[in-house]
Amino acid sequence: MFKKALSSPYIHNPPFSTRGMMFRVILALLPAAAAYAWLFGWGVVVNMLLATGVALLCEAIMLALRGRPLQPAITDGSAILTALLLAFALPPLAPWWLTTIGVAFAIVVAKHLYGGLGFNPFNPAIIGYVVLLVSFPRELTLWLLPAQLAEHTLDPAATLGYVFGATLPSGLTIDALTAATPLDAMKTQLGLGHTTSEIMANHPVFGLVGGKGWIWIDLLLLAGGVWLIYRRVINWHIPVATLGSLFAISSLFFVLDPQHSPSPLFHLFSGAAILGAFFIATDPVTAATSNLGRLWYGAGIGVLIYVIRSWGGFPDGVAFAVLLMNMAAPTIDHYTKPRVYGHDGSGDA
């Protein structure tokens, strides 16, 4: 007789929809993305646009193959967010195929083969990044120098030429444009037996705390992350636990051996620590769900970041740390079930 829902409640009023959540995260990412582009040139912009296009295309193809309607999945913002996060992790001058492979793997395999949004046990952007990292390690370390240090910068046409045609203006080689990232430089130099103070003083990439220029991106990411917490899009638990535990463990080693351990602030403001803590680890689909669980989950990521950075084979450990903790999330959830009303604390899990 009426158009009606079978079951109560009949009213809904979430603070924002799933779509709204995704777009708020994207919005919080944009200032840092702009700073990233400002510092490292047009390649960043090309990466992000290309990644978004590929992500939406893959999403559409996968939805069609799985026999699902395009709407609402295509406009839910999740594919765009995955693309932007992945593009954020890629070097500023990435060839088109690198971006395409990474994004396609993220959307096709890491997201849709697991059942689409909500069903993926691992963060798709991270999976895409890790696949690239282990398959094309050389390409992923070809990082540009920040604009303020670089002798050469590329205009939009030259950037497109490199990204899609692998050609550079005459007289330029890719080696002249690129340099090691601060974390990479730190790791290599520590391996050569230098002390942290020597390295920070002698190398042009280092600024006051971390990489020169990089600090601005991290500060804007931090601002975006704090805004997300303030707007209650994400909870404070995961970022605070992640950065807190990273800070704690790096402080411990810094106090024990300051000559061979980078400072806690260096750890926080290098690599993907801030990005990971606020924008990647907080992906609710793949994180722990209770507040207590979120604290454990974040703390685990922080410790793993430090462990991988210090003793692992890669300069940064955020991606692997998040993946490992993604794997642990269901177990954490199991052991951090809140006490249900009317049950005694002993728990009958």
């Binding site: 079978l6 079951s7 026999g67 699902r68 309607p69 709407q71 609402p72 999945a73």
Partner: protein, 183 residues
């Protein structure tokens, strides 16, 4: 050479004794697997599985003689539960055994019943009341819907009627979600 043979003989003896002892010490009465299977079966006692009742079918599954997909009244739910219990893959219901039907009860048109008691004899759960030459009636609550009484009735007055849905037996359906977000 001799020591090896002796050692092997000794080991064989020890393990043989151990096995013999455990078969007595840890002996299980009855067949717990068959009991567990029987607990899952719907107890209609209809025989559609090819065995004369649920218990024999349960024993046949336990011994590996019968498959888990031979029970039409239990349908998908029972197959799933058996698959979980036995650690096997669920499979579709064997179509030769019949199809899954909504729950039914037998109904006797009492005006034409001749009181022959054949249905009473056929009923596996004694759910039909009556005496010779008096009309019979089905205790609907006890009827399992096995249909075994339908065939023997010489005057064809027994029919199977679906159990009526009423408010106390109504079940909430699984929500229908428009965008194909189905399990």
């Amino acid at each position: 050479m001799l020591s090896a043979a002796l050692a092997l003989t000794f080991l064989a003896l020890v393990f043989g004794l151990l096995l013999g002892y455990s078969s007595i010490r840890f002996r299980v009465e009855g067949d717990p697997v068959a009991d567990q299977i029987d607990a899952i079966l719907p107890q209609t006692q209809c025989g559609q599985c090819g065995y004369p009742g649920c218990r024999p079918y349960a024993e046949a599954i336990a011994s590996g003689e019968a498959d888990i997909n031979q029970c039409p009244p239990g349908g998908e739910q029972v197959i799933q539960a058996l698959a979980d219990l036995l650690g096997r893959e669920p499979k579709p219901l064997d179509p030769d055994r019949g199809a899954e039907k909504p729950p039914m009860v037998a109904f006797i048109d009492e005006s034409d019943c001749i009181g022959c008691t054949l249905c009473i004899k056929a009923c596996p759960v004694d759910a039909i009341l009556g005496a010779p030459k008096q009309m019979h009636t089905v205790i609907a609550d006890e009827c399992t819907g096995c249909e075994l009484c339908v065939e023997p009735c010489p005057v064809d007055v027994i029919s199977m009627v679906p159990v009526e849905e009423d408010i106390s037996h109504w079940k909430w359906p699984l929500p229908k979600v428009a965008n194909g977000d189905a399990p």
